[in-house]
Symmetry: C2
Subunit: 390 residues, 2 copies
């Protein structure tokens, strides 16, 4: 087992109607003024916006608002948020929405403490040292940003999508009410299922080191998502299924499934280029279309781990042919994502064939890096995986 740090200090309030404790929670942290940050109209339609406002007013907490966060959140809106946060001297950013809103809030939170563009954090030219606290009310189970230390933003001038990890990116608190995800569409639920699984799969497969406990947690989490995901797609109002997905969303990306393990996310890196260039493509959908082809190349280096995935997560029946079983596991995953209504190829997603080379090149930071998980993903390998996924 490798040495590791684990630090997941977010205070989680999980369950039905927990958002009705918002006022109380803010009060416990002595918050006087918040920047309420959200997406488009969905939280107004669902009534969540009204609940939040009522909670703020009941406790006399002052607030300013900034809506308009899109999927693949944009730097331009972050800069607007930074300006408001500084001018209004808010003492918390309240993110009400999904991973995009939370990530946008996180970059505002560190950006408000410096006098340069927070994009420098995204491209790792600067390291954040302080932040305004961020509190989240999550409305979709997917990115795990509510407990993670990561923040992914797209520079809408250049089309570059960049993520960085930092302790400064941990939310102060997170309110997770599975009922808030009842109205998430089947497609978006599917994208979330794939995203959650990928956060765990990429950690599970990024290292050959033994880690019995971490591996058990990863396998259990993956199996949970397979089971609960299917149920949530079939019945969007299945509370327990939504709850399992929501908690899996948080644990998949809070560090727990990487304890004692090396952690390189090649598939995530490749996908970031895709949804950077094609902002209409949902991150989870992109991941699901690529991973099986990465896996078909990578499994030979990690037969034992892929066997466990096949048998314990995808419930492939054992035969005498291990290789066949492992490939059946990967294909079963592909079938699962198709069954829950997700695209299984980049062409289906609208990626143009003549951009594959650029995507591979960009994933290598224009020749400046090579990704190493259990295989080496250089430009040629990235291009092969993208072509196989087309």
């Amino acid at each position: 087992m490798r040495n590791f740090n684990y630090y997941a200090p977010t205070k989680v309030f999980f369950g039905r109607k927990e958002e009705e404790k918002l006022g109380e929670i803010l009060e416990s942290f002595k918050i006087k003024k918040v920047l309420l940050h959200y997406g488009r109209s969905s939280i107004k339609k669902s009534g969540l916006y009204d609940t939040v406002i009522a909670q703020l007013k009941a406790k006399n907490i002052d607030f300013v608002e900034l809506g308009g966060v899109d999927a693949n959140p944009k730097l331009s809106l972050v800069l607007k948020g930074v300006e408001i946060a500084k001018r209004e001297k808010v003492d918390l950013i309240l993110a009400v929405g999904g991973g995009s809103v939370i990530d946008s809030s996180k970059l505002i939170a560190v950006g408000a403490m410096v006098d340069f563009s927070p994009w420098k954090f995204s491209i790792k030219e600067e390291t954040p040292k302080a932040h305004i606290p961020v509190g989240a009310i999550l409305t979709i189970s997917a990115a795990g940003s509510d407990m993670s230390d990561s923040c992914v933003i797209t520079n809408d001038e250049t089309g570059k999508k960049r993520g960085f990890s930092s302790e400064q990116n941990r939310c102060l608190f997170s309110i997770l009410d599975p009922e808030l995800t009842f109205t998430v569409s089947k497609f978006q639920t599917g994208c979330g299922i794939v995203d959650i699984m990928m956060h765990t799969l990429e950690r599970y497969f990024s290292d050959s080191d033994e880690s019995i406990l971490t591996d058990s947690i990863a396998i259990g989490l993956l199996r949970t998502v397979i089971v609960a995901g299917k149920r949530a797609i079939e019945d969007p109002y299945d509370y327990n299924a939504r709850a399992e997905l929501m908690w899996a969303n948080s644990l998949s990306h809070n560090g727990l499934t990487a304890c004692g393990r090396e952690y390189v996310m090649s598939v995530h890196q490749m996908e970031h280029e895709i949804s950077g260039m094609y902002p209409e493509i949902a991150h989870g959908a992109g991941l699901g279309a690529i991973w099986p082809q990465w896996a078909m190349v990578a499994y030979k280096t990690q037969i034992e781990r892929f066997k466990r995935f096949a048998y314990e997560v995808m419930c492939v029946e054992k035969t005498n042919d291990e290789i066949k079983d492992v490939e059946a596991g990967i294909q079963a995953f592909k079938k699962y994502i198709k069954d829950i209504g997700m695209p299984t190829s980049l062409s289906e997603l609208g990626v143009k064939e003549n951009t594959l080379e650029d995507l591979a090149y960009n994933a290598m930071f224009k020749g400046k890096r090579i990704l190493k998980d259990i295989i080496t993903v250089d430009y040629d390998m990235a291009l092969k995986i993208l072509k196989d996924s087309f």
Copy 2:
């Protein structure tokens, strides 16, 4: 799934030689003066004491010392610690040792902020609102106190052992170096194995509600301890086995395995009376001697959960007789604790038969409470379990 809060903010530094970062870590938290709290001679023999002192001196961190914590830590020493912490105005309690030292530190940490005896926190007459930060360097995998919110202390005047949970009991940081546990005796390693399993078993069996993810984590953790425990007993210098036990120690009691579940620890409550009355009895040893008899009474209310325990944790082979399999699972656990050298009865532990009634009566707080997990443990039931365990 039930509503829950999850809050485990301890910063974990895990792995080989992480204690050599102590100075750096204290500096990062701007600590100027610590109360160094420890047990008897073992940290001096092992050289850990010298490492700690060297780290403090290298960063010019001032310190005062209080050694002498025993297994089943005593209120009298806590009161001495409170007095020192107040007088010397320390800004961190540095616990170097096992769960006893950490628990003693935790009560000093809350006691130093009030002008009454912190025993009032233990008996839940008062609720702590503030604490001096506690940092831990763990030397035995067992109690999970390094990440837990609980603190158990024995009042050496009355023989009462009482635990309480509070956010104020969370350590600021925890240094977990599995190598520090190489020299833990087989018997103490065994006690730790049982304690870790019990923290998880009591949560797993305390509620009939479905919780797929939490259950998977619990089952994975239990299986990890079974496997790694055996290896650590056979070869105390097996780093990976010691590492799995150490991380399981933390996760078993930090709240993770109770998420979405009710949580009543009847067996722990009964054992606290035993090691309260017989301070020479190790907590883990007491637990191991009682649990199987609780399980033999309780399994009928929870056949499915006990089946999973039998098949997935104890690896019992499936037959056509579920009841037989479940009982085989419980007996396999009993055999496991015997195999790792632990006593399997209260008489072996030195409990006197004529004290069983008092023990049962005390576990009910002299008639003032009844424990409800998946069965109701009242005085008669507690006495039956204790007699069966004798």
